[in-house]
Subunit: 303 residues, 4 copies
C-alpha cells in the first residue's frame, strides 16, 4: 500500500544527441520511445516503459515520479498531501507518455513530485519464460535499473517530514549536527528494502544532486569506471564506498552536467530498521568512507 | 502491514556441540542465548535477538516464524487464517525465549508457522552511530543474516495459495508442467523486495529442504566454500548459480544433515513483479543454471 | 633462456563449424587465419599469431608447442633432447602457418612436442600506444589468453623428468602415494611465474586431459559459466577452486569432446618455489578443493 | 639466471611502534624477527625470511634488495655492474639479518641496490603438504606478498638503462614526451612475468615513491580500503585502476609518510612482451585510468 518504488526521474539536458550517447551507449539503457522531443529510457531489468525521461532545456530535475501499489493509493495520498497543506494537481492519462493517471505536487523544497500507478509494461528481453539471468546484447555499463535519487533542500528536516509523515517513508540514516541532536541535516529515506529510494542533503531548493543506477557488484563498478575512461565521461569521485548505505559507488556527470551514480551493495532494510545516525564531524566518512573527506564538488555542483 | 520478513527458523539437530561449531565457528553466527537446551543465533547484521534457533532432537524443521509489521497485524492475520479453515493458537509472551505474543498454526503441508511482532532487539556490533560497514571480529563465513527457506509439500499449489491469499505473499517464480499450464509444481514467494522469503517444491509434507544465509557477493561465496573444505562441512552442490532467482549459491549440510545454503545476488522484486514461469523440462536449468541438471540429492535429501 | 611459455596447442575436432562457434563465439577467441583446413586462433590479449590451432579429424591433441626465448635456444635444446635419447626433427620455416623454424620430438608418453622461437606477431586491438585495459568488442567469455594444458602419461615420473631435466621446468606441486614417497603420480610444471604451464597425471599415453584459458577473476568465471548455459556447452565441473594451484575453474567440453578449462587465480612461482606435495588420500581436495572428491569423468574422459 | 625477484625493501620510519601497528595489524604482515632495532616482516604467502625491513630514522628507502637465481649470478652481476662503472661492495653473510652473502652498489640515481641469493627460508603457515589455499589466522588486509616498488630519479632514462643493460630487466611500459620520441620519462621494468618489479619516474634522486603489496582481487582492494578507514590510515588515492599495468590500486601512507600501495591484477609479461608507450599528454590516464588526472601528491610526496 502506498509508494512502491522510484518510478522515473525526468531531467533536462543541453544536447539530446550527447545525452543519447551517454545514457544509451555508455550507461546501456534502452530507448523505449522518443516522442515530442523527449527520450524515454529503461534499464534491461526493468519491466515498465521507462525509468528515465530526458528532455532538452539545460540541466536539472524536471520531476521525480514514484509508482504506487494500488490505483486507490492515489486518492488516499492526494488527501494526505492536501491535508499537509500542499496543492495537488491531477495528471490525466497519457499526459505523460505511456503513463496513467496520477497526481502531482510541488514540495516546499521546490521539487516536483508525481505519483502514478499505471504505466505501460514493456517487459524485458530475458522474458518471463525460462529466462537467462542476463541478456545477450548488453551495452556499456549495462545498468539493470534505476536505484535512487538525492536532492538538496534548504530545509532537509521539512523534506524528510513530508516523505515520512505523508508518504510513509522510513529513515535509514540521518546526519545531525552532533550526537544527541535531532536536527536533520540529511536523511536517507526508503519504502523498499533498500537503504534508500530518495535522500536529501542541505542546499538550494529544487536542485538535483544525483540519480543513481544499480550495478550488481563491485567488479561491475570497476568496469563502469573503465567505460567512463574509454568514453570520456567526467568522473566526480570513485570507485569508493559510502559509509552511509555501505554502497559502492562512482559519481560522474552526464554531458549536461547532471550528476549520475553507479551504485552497488548496501544492506537490507525493513520497516523496523533502526535509524542510523551520523554526526557532522564524521560526515566525510559517512559520504566517502575510504577517503573520509568530501570533495568540494560534492556540496557545490548541483543541477 | 502484514508479514515483514522471515524472522527465524527453529531446527532440530542431533548434536548440540557439533551444531555450535557449525553455526557459530563456521557460518559465523553469534550466540545470543542458550536457554533450556536451545541455542539462539543471529547474523552480525541482524538487530533482533535471533534468526535461528537450534534444539536437540534429530533433524528437521520445528517451525518457521515470520515477523509482522504491526502488533495489530496478528489479530488480522489470525482472522484470515481461521477463515481459511486452519486452527490458530495464541502464543503467549516469552513462550519463545525473547519473543513477544504471537499466533501459530499448522499448515495443510504439516509445517508449523508462527507469526509475531515483538522480539528483543540486541542491535549490532557496528551500531547505530557513525558505523563501520562491517565488524572487526567476523568469524568464518561471517553470514550477515538469514535470507529464506525452502520446504517441501505434497501439494505445492495449496501451500502457495495459503501464502498468497492469506499472508499476501507474491509469486516471483513458479514451475509448471508445461507452458500454458497453471499447475504449480514449485513456487518462490516474497513479501520483501528479494526474489524469495520462502519457497516450496513437491515432496513429503512437513519437510525442510534448506534454509539460507545471505552473503554479500560471489567472492564471499567462494570464501565460504573454502571454509567448508577447511572445516570438513559436507557440500551438496556449488558454487553455482540458480536460474530461478539468479542467485549464486552453495548448498551444504549441518552436522545433523539439515541442508543450509549461502546465497548472494538475485534481482529486486516489487508487488508488481510479473511472475516468471519455468517449465518442468527446463527445471534443471532453473535450479542449477550452469550445470543444467539436478543432482539426486536435490529431491531426496530432506530433513 | 630456454622455454618462455606455452605457445600453442593444436587439437583435432569432429566439426569445424561447431568448433568455430565454440572457440570464437563462446570462448571469444579471435580467428587470425583459416588455411589448408586449419583454424588459427588467439586470445584478445595475445600478441602472437595464434595460441590454438584447430584441425578436422576427430578429437585429441595433435601437438603442443612452446616458444623459446632465443633462436639459439633451439639448437641447445635439440642437443639436450637428443642427449636424453629422443630423436629430434627440424621443422622448417612456415611448415606451420605463421611459425618460424623449430624442432619437434615425440615424448616417451607419445605426446608431440614442438619448440619454436619465431612466430608472426599480430599485436592486439588495445595496441601499444596509450592502450585501454580491455578491448571494446569482446565476445562471449572473452578469454584473454591460453594458460596451460594437462596431459596423461603411463609414466608421469618420466614425463616430469623430461620437462625438468631437459627443458628446465620446475615442479610447483606433485602427487605422491603417501607422505615420504617420491613416486610422482602427477606433477604441475612451470617455466613462467605461474603455478603451471603444463601438468601430467596418470593415464593412457598420448592423451589430452584439458587445455585452459585464463580469465581475470572469479566474477569472470561465473560469467563464463553463464555463457556455457546460454550456449549449451557441456560443463564437466565447476565453478570451483582447485586445491592444487589454488586456481578457480570450470571444466567444460568443446563440441568434439576435448576438455577445456577457464582458469583464474593461483599464486606466483619463482625458480626457488618449494615443491608442494599432495598425498593420494587428499587428491580429491587437491583437484576440487570445495567438493573434496573427483568425479568419474576426471580420470576417464580424455581425448 | 640473474635477478629472480624483488626480495626486500628496507625503509626508515619515525616511530617503530606505529610502524608495527601499520604493517602487522593493518597490512597483515608477519613479524619474523626484531633484531638490533630492526623489524623484519613477510607476507603470509612468502617463504623467505622477510620482504620488508623497517628501521628507525625518519622516512625513505634505505635500500632495495633483489634475489638472484643462482649463487654464481652474484659474481657475474658484480662484473657487469663494475663494467658499467659503478663500485660494488661485497656484503658478507649475515651482515643483513638472515641474509647470505651479496653485493651492493649505489646507483647513479642515489638508490642503494643489493643483490643476494641466500636467505633463511621460514616457509608459510599453509605449508607444503596438502595445503589449504589461505591461512586461518589472516589479519587486516592480509597482504600475501610484496609486489614491486617505484622510485624517482633525475634521469629515468639512465636508471632504465642500468636495469635493462646490466640486470637484464625488460621494459613493459614507458612514458615519452610525445609519440615518436624515445626519451624515457618513466619506465616500468620486469624480470618476472608481472607487469613490473620496479619502476621509475622523474623526481629527485634517491627518493621512494611507493612500495606495493599484492592482493588477490578487486574485492580485496575494497576490503583494504575499508580497513584503512577503520584504522585511520591516510589514503592518497583509490580504489582505482592504473592505465599503466592495468592493475587496480589504493595508494596510502605508513605512519612515517612512506607511500604504500595495495595492487591487484595486471597482465602477464614475457621476455618478448612488446613495450607499451604512453605519451605525456595521456599520462593522467596512464597513472589513474578512471580519474584521468594526477593529483598533486603523486609527483610531490616522496620519502
Amino acid at each position: 500500500m502506498g509508494v512502491m518504488r522510484l518510478g522515473f526521474v525526468q531531467v533536462r539536458v543541453t544536447d539530446m544527441e550527447a545525452a543519447k550517447s551517454h545514457y544509451i551507449d555508455a550507461l546501456g539503457l534502452e530507448k523505449t520511445a522518443e516522442v515530442d522531443g523527449r527520450l524515454y529510457l529503461k534499464g534491461w531489468d526493468e519491466w515498465d516503459h521507462h525509468s528515465v525521461v530526458v528532455e532538452p532545456g539545460g540541466a536539472g530535475l524536471v520531476k521525480m515520479a514514484f509508482k504506487v501499489d494500488q490505483e486507490e493509493d492515489l486518492s488516499e495520498l492526494e488527501k494526505r498531501i492536501e491535508a499537509y497543506g500542499l496543492p495537488v494537481r491531477r495528471v490525466h492519462r497519457h499526459e505523460d507518455y505511456a503513463v496513467g493517471e496520477g497526481i502531482v505536487t510541488t514540495l516546499p523544497s521546490g521539487h516536483v513530485l508525481q505519483l502514478y500507478h499505471e504505466i505501460e509494461v514493456l517487459g524485458t528481453r530475458t522474458g518471463r519464460l525460462n529466462p537467462d539471468p542476463w541478456p545477450d546484447d548488453a551495452r556499456g555499463m549495462a545498468a539493470p535499473r534505476i536505484d535512487h535519487l538525492l536532492v538538496t533542500a534548504e530545509n532537509p528536516g521539512q523534506f524528510t517530514e513530508f516523505f515520512t509523515k505523508v508518504l510513509d517513508f522510513k529513515i535509514s540514516e540521518r546526519v545531525v549536527p552532533q550526537a544527541g541532536s535531532d536536527e536533520i541535516l540529511g536523511a536517507w529515506l526508503y519504502r523498499t528494502n533498500t537503504p534508500h529510494d530518495i535522500a536529501v542533503i542541505p542546499g538550494p531548493n529544487g536542485k538535483l544532486h544525483h540519480f543513481a543506477f544499480w550495478l550488481d557488484n563491485w567488479q561491475d563498478v570497476l568496469r563502469a569506471g573503465d567505460i567512463m575512461a574509454k568514453t570520456g565521461i567526467p568522473v566526480d569521485i570513485g570507485p569508493t564506498r559510502h559509509g552511509i548505505t555501505r554502497g559502492t559507488t562512482i559519481y560522474f556527470f552526464d554531458p549536461a552536467g547532471n550528476r549520475n551514480e553507479v551504485f552497488s551493495g548496501g544492506y537490507i532494510t525493513y520497516p523496523d530498521f533502526p535509524c542510523i545516525t551520523w554526526t557532522a564531524d564524521e560526515l566525510g566518512k559517512g559520504i566517502f568512507y575510504i577517503q573520509r573527506e568530501l570533495n568540494d564538488r560534492f556540496t557545490t555542483v548541483l543541477t
